[in-house]
Amino acid sequence: MATDNATGGGFGEVSRLRGIAFEYLSLGASVAGLVALGVLLVYVAIDAFDLANASPEWLLTYFLTLVVPFLGFCLYSAGDPAITRRALGALGGGLVAVAALFTAIEAFVVDIPRLSWQLAYLFVVVAPVTGYLTYVGSRGRVGAVGFGLLGRLVGGVAVGLAVGTLFLVFDELVWFLAYTLGVLPAAGLYAYGRWRDADRAASAALPVGLVGVVAAVFLRGVIATYPSDLIIYLWTLAVPIAAVGALVVAGRGSRTAAAAAGGVPLAVATATGFLAGGLGVPGPTALIVLAVTGVPTAVYVHRVIDGGEGVVGLGLPLLIAAGVIAGALVVEAWGVPAPDPWLDVSYVTEAPSRTPEEAGLYPAIVGSVIIIALVAVLSFVLGVGTSIFLEEYTAGSGLVGSLTRLLQVNIANLAAIPSVVYGLLGLGLFANLLGLGFGTAVTASLTLSLLILPITIISAQEAIRSVPDDLRRGSDAMGATRWQTTKNVVLPEAFPGILTGTILALGRAIGETAPLIMIGAATTVFSAPSSLFNRFSAMPMQIYAWAGFPQAEFRYGVVAAGVITLLIILIGMNGTAILLRNRAERGN
């Protein structure tokens, strides 16, 4: 090549040694961090799922019934022989390499605690290969359909559970009235206005909705009889979701398909909701979960079948379910020793206990979910509001300008204040002065919102500042008021960045313990909070308390299960926010 000749030839050479050294040092630093985190997570997972007691036969069974079909699905979706060869090579070569290396280290260097070579193979080779193939597979049409369906199933269940959890605390009767008097008429007016091109109907929607909501709050105490919870959920959540789903399908396909996509899940959800009471499952929650899961799934399935591409992918959830059942049957028939995971259904549905086998995290999970929901709303509204004011409305000079700069400096400093201090503030301000109660969910939410507010504000400011001035001036020159420019141009453009900052800040809030201790949150409560003014516990508090228990089972198994639960909820929450953000970015 010409450039090679030039550097090798008459122009001499320029040393790149320092640059190369820097490159590899930074690579090493990032890899070291990841490896440390990976090792920690592997051990936590081994403890939480009791994998140390998993027999090789058990591992082999599930590898064959669950992992291999899944990888096969991904490879089929990718449809690339080269990737298939590479994956098989990595799995086979990895098996030999890990087994040899592991045995060698155990024999000659040091005994590796609570890890067998099969587990090492699972974590070092199978997990990354699965991750990679999932990524590759999801880019094929069949894989995209499969993961799309799986995502709707899992996401629907998660959202349904979260909504059900929130209704434990928030008064569903007010919601029932607000929905019937405010939300429904407003939505109806708006839809009518758009449909008939009647702008007055559409613009009347907001005032009508607000009046309805205010009326609901006043009427809550006046009206004495209400329908049962199940009817309320059916009327206010399941029916509208089904209607929206049916409308989406109707926009694309036939009326029959629309009725089926909305109606069948609704019927199943309703029937299950009414029957669930007899089985000991809370009926309203079952209704919400099934409706939230079923309708989007039905709409998605209809869309895929209508499009005719990658229909095979719809089998992925069946493949996984079949793998789990087949594995369980084989293990049962073979009689091989199976692990007894700490993290199981009873762990997330039952209250804490003195015996490790019966200990559960349910009240703490509910507490955390409620707090996070409140903190997300509060800090988002306050943070975005403040940053818009600071960036778009304040003048750069004069008295207001000086005040703004003072505010800026203070906000930057507030971000660096230890969380214990915020705990003290919450204790003094919210618990004592405002009388919101010690260790109540509302005090905790307000305190944590204050704690992350500086981070939210600063990142939102950055996002708003990164919107090019050209766009603002373009909008101003069209005769837009400052509010119109902010609302129509600045905020849509800054929204993804604002969300990113909020996600990071929320991640910090969900893991905070110190301020919760300061405001007097309980380490352990035995029932889920039933109002915002109840005593509550949060996941990190409960995990911290268990870590101090004398029994070793608590300190290893139960704590590990708690950590995994916390991580799953955190990842679920961040995943939702990231999906939202990506959608907003695509919208541009």
């Binding site: 766009l471 373009g474 020159a477 129509n488 541009n588």
Partner: protein, 276 residues
Amino acid sequence: MSNTPTSDSLITTDVQTESTDRSAVSGATAVAARDLNVYYGDEQAIDDVSIEIPEKRVTALIGPSGCGKSTFLRCINRMNDMIDVCRVEGDVEFGGKNVYDDDVDPVALRRKIGMVFQKPNPFPKSIRDNVAYGLEIQGFDGDVDARVEESLKGAALWDEVKDQLDSSGLDLSGGQQQRLCIARAIAPDPEVILMDEPTSALDPVAASKIEDLIDDLAEEYTVIIVTHNMQQAARISDRTAVFLTGGRLVEYDDTTKIFEDPEEQRVEDYITGKFG
């Protein structure tokens, strides 16, 4: 972009073919400045400028960098209000009213005056929403789609984008983006269109399309354009104002006169490239 013209004959031909026919008719005044002084802090950007800009004509403002021509343009729709240190003295009359009077709402003023910037700045929205932006913020309650089509046709962009009105305005090429910005500016049907070097970020082909468009726009609108390109000023404008360093308006006359036989020696030096 062409270089500064060195031969007078080139300019002269262009002026004769393009715009003599319009400049012969004398029209009413659209915008007028009287004893206008503008300061950025202590620095004077415009020095005692008085000018009357005729209706439904193209008026070009030319001059070297930093001579205050863009500042003058931004005085007309009070975009200078956004700059904290900027201070304006004197009158700018638009529609028989001083726009710096206390009872003038700058936002309402800007709704009557469209503006096109140097760098194309379409919003990160669909083409349709870009054009409809002015209508939306002004609460226009007529047929928005018809207006969008009319404006895109007015900006000579309709045929290129009519099948992709819902795709983003940012997906267009630079020249198309600038025409989209022009469509956006004319959609609310303003009386005056201000253009701040609208072709300086574009390639010659795209620039010549915009020039043709400006010629058409003058049928309906008063166009005031700042440009660095003297050939462009000679080609498209009916009247030309020459600003020289210090924010002084040195000469203002019919374009033909300015380019063929300027009164001031400094203007001739500037136009022929001996100074600037």
